[in-house]
C-alpha cells in the first residue's frame, strides 16, 4: 500500500458494501466498468489452477486444498478454473483434492500463456461464476494477470500471501512486504476479494484418485492479442523453477567461475534440487540471472536451502529466509549467513561439496 503505515479512514466499509462493484462512481469513463458482476455467491471461492504438459502444477494442488478449506469456512463451494488448450482432464483431476466443480476454458488462442488472452478468458468466466473470493498462485502467470482482472472487477488484491483465512465473512490475508523483512495483514473493502498465494505455503492433502471434479468446458472467446510469442528459448531444459523447488543448492561469489559451479550442480543433481546463486555470482557471469535468489532475484520457499560460499547479505537473506531448513557452508566462521543457518559447516566448499555429494549418493542409492 502506498503511504505504508497509514490506515484507510475515508469512506466506511458500509458505504462500499452498498455499491455493486461495477457501478460507476463519477466521470471515470476511461476506467472500464466491471463486466456486470452484480450478485456474488457468498462463500464461493474460485481458484486458478495451472497446467504444464497436461499435468496440474504442484502449487495448483496446494491451492486447490486451500480453496476447499476456505470455501467450507465461508459456507460456499470451491470451484477450479483451468485455462489453456486441452486442459479438461487436468480440471477433472482437481476432484482428487476435494474440488467438486471446475471450468476448463479452452482455445487455440490460449495454447501459450499471454497475459492479455488469459485476462480476457478470466473476465468472461469470473462474472458468470460470481465468486466472492478469487485465488491464484503467486506464479509468473498469476502475478501477471490477477492485477488486471482485479482492476477491471474493482476488487482488492493481496499478493504473495503466506496465510489466508475467512474472518467476519471476508477473506483476510497475511503477506510479506519489504522482501520479507516485515509482514502485514490485508483486509478487504471490496465485494470481491482476490489473492495470490506463495507456493509451498500451505499443505497439500493426499490425492484421492477415485474422485473427479465435474467439468464444464467453455470455448474461449478472446480477441486477437497485441502481444505475440515469437520464440521460446529453453536455456536449461527441465530446470524446475526456484520458486517451486523443494530443495535448493545455491552458490556464491566463492565459486570463482562458471566451470566451478559444477560442484554445486552435482550436489543439486543428487538431491533433485534446483541450483540457486547469489547476485555476486550472477553479476560475475558464473551463472544466469534466472538462478538468482534474493531481493532482485527470486523469492524462494524450499524445505531445504544449502548456501555454499554465500556471505548472507541482507538482500540475499530476503529471498530465502523462509526456507524450512538452511544449511551454510562457508570458510569464514564470522560470515553472517551462519546466524540464520540451522546447520553450519565451516570449511572450504571445494572440499565439502564433493564429500556431501558422495554421501548423499550412497544414502539415496543413486
Amino acid at each position: 500500500m502506498r503511504g505504508i503505515g497509514e490506515i484507510v479512514e475515508r469512506g466506511s466499509e458500509g458505504d462500499l458494501e452498498k455499491r455493486h462493484p461495477g457501478e460507476s462512481r463519477g466521470p471515470v469513463d476511461w476506467i472500464p466498468a466491471s463486466a456486470g458482476m452484480t450478485n456474488i455467491k457468498m462463500g464461493n471461492v474460485l481458484f486458478i489452477a495451472e497446467v504444464e504438459e497436461g499435468k496440474l502444477k504442484g502449487y495448483s494442488k496446494e491451492l486447490a486444498c486451500k480453496a476447499v478449506e476456505l470455501a467450507s469456512q465461508a459456507g460456499g463451494e470451491a470451484h477450479g478454473i483451468v485455462i489453456g488448450k486441452n486442459v479438461a482432464a487436468a480440471a477433472e483431476e482437481l476432484g482428487q483434492f476435494g474440488v467438486a466443480k471446475a471450468t476448463a476454458v479452452e482455445g487455440e488462442a490460449l495454447a501459450e500463456f499471454i497475459g492479455e488472452a488469459y485476462t480476457q478468458a478470466l473476465l468472461e468466466a469470473v462474472p458468470a461464476l460470481k465468486p466472492q473470493v478469487v485465488l491464484a498462485s503467486a506464479s509468473g502467470s498469476g502475478k501477471d494477470i490477477l492485477p488486471r482482472v482485479a482492476f477491471k472487477l474493482k476488487a482488492g488484491l493481496a499478493t504473495d500471501c503466506i496465510d489466508l483465512k475467512i474472518e467476519n465473512g471476508k477473506l483476510k490475508a497475511r503477506r510479506p512486504i519489504f522482501a520479507g523483512k516485515a509482514l502485514v495483514d490485508v483486509t478487504f473493502l471490496s465485494d470481491i476479494q482476490m489473492a495470490t498465494a506463495r507456493p509451498n505455503s500451505f499443505a497439500t492433502k493426499q490425492a484421492d484418485a477415485s474422485k473427479k471434479a465435474s467439468v464444464n468446458k467453455v470455448a474461449a472467446n478472446v480477441a486477437p492479442s497485441k502481444v505475440k510469442v515469437k520464440e521460446v528459448k529453453e536455456a536449461e531444459k527441465g530446470m524446475k523453477d526456484l520458486t517451486e523447488a523443494d530443495v535448493i543448492v545455491a552458490g556464491g561469489r566463492a565459486l570463482g567461475s562458471s566451470e566451478n559451479f559444477k560442484v554445486v550442480k552435482e550436489l543439486a543433481d543428487v538431491l533433485g534440487a534446483t541450483v540457486g546463486a547469489s547476485r555476486a555470482a550472477v553479476d560475475a557471469g558464473y551463472i544466469s540471472h534466472d538462478h538468482q535468489v534474493g531481493q532482485t532475484g527470486k523469492t524462494v520457499n524450499p524445505k531445504l536451502y544449502i548456501a555454499c560460499g554465500i556471505s548472507g547479505a541482507i538482500q540475499h537473506l530476503a529471498g530465502m529466509r523462509t526456507a524450512k531448513v538452511i544449511v551454510a557452508i562457508n570458510k569464514d566462521p564470522e560470515a553472517p549467513i551462519f546466524s540464520k543457518a540451522d546447520y553450519g559447516v565451516v570449511g572450504d566448499l571445494f572440499t565439502i561439496l564433493p564429500i556431501l555429494t558422495r554421501n548423499f549418493k550412497e544414502l539415496l542409492g543413486k
Binding site: 502506498r2 463519477g26 482492476f151 482488492g156 499478493t159 523483512k181 473493502l189 536449461e236 540451522d342 559447516v345
Partner: protein, 258 residues
Amino acid sequence: MKIGVLLKQAPDTETKIKIKQDASGIDESDIKWVINTYDEYAVEEALRLKDAAGGGEVVIVTAGSKRAVDSMRQALAMGADRGIRIDTEGVVLDSYTTAVILSKAVQSENFEIIFAGKQAVDDDCVQVAQMVATALDWPAIWPAEHIELGADKKSVQVTRPVAGGVKEIMEMQLPGVLCCDKGDHEPRYASLPGIMKAKSKPIAELKAADLLSGETPKVKWSGFGLPPERKSGKVLKGEPEEVCAELVKLLREEAKVI
C-alpha cells in the same frame, strides 16, 4: 518517441525495517530513500529506447510526497527530460487507487510506450503497472528483460523470463506497458553535467485528490510485524569427512528434509 516511466521512491534495499510500536505501520525515521530498484532499470531502458528511436522525450511520472522529488531529479540527471509528480499528501492509496491516479495523469500525455518496474521493493505488490495498462486498455508485458524497438517503431521485441530458465521472445504492438526486470543493462550513473542540468528540468505537479474521481481503496493494511527471527543453529566442527557424515545424518534424522 514519447516515453513515460512510472517511478516510485522506495527504501534502499539495505534498510533494516522497524515497525511502529502500535503495529500500525513502518517506522520511517531512519530510511534512506532511493529510486525503486526495478524502476531504475525502467529509466535505463527508456533512455536507450529514446536513443534507438532517434530522439523524443522521457517523462518521469511519480505518485508520492515531496520527498520523492529527489529520486525524480536523480532520473532526470540520468538523462530523462521532465517529470510529473502527483502529490499524495493527505490521501491514502492502495494499488488500485494508485493505478487510477497514475493512469489519469498519463492519459493526456499520449505516450507511445510506458516503462515501469516489475515490482516495488517496499510493498512488493506487483500490481500497479499492470493495472495502469488495464486502465488505458493497453497490453503489458510482465516481466520484461531485454527490449528492442521494432523496425517500424510501432512495436517492441521483448524477452520475458518465464519459470525454470525459459525465455519467451515476444512482440508487442505499441502503445503498451513494459514492467522491467533486471536485464543486461546496468542503470547508468548520473554525470556531473547531468546533475547540473537536472536542477532546471521541469517537474509539473498534480494533486492526487483531483485525479481520484471518487475512486476508493480496495484493501486496508494492519497488524504490521516482523517475521520470526531465525535462531542460529549448530555449527559442525571437525574433519571434513566427519562433518559431512554428521550433516547428512542430521538432515535425514533430525530435520527430516532428505
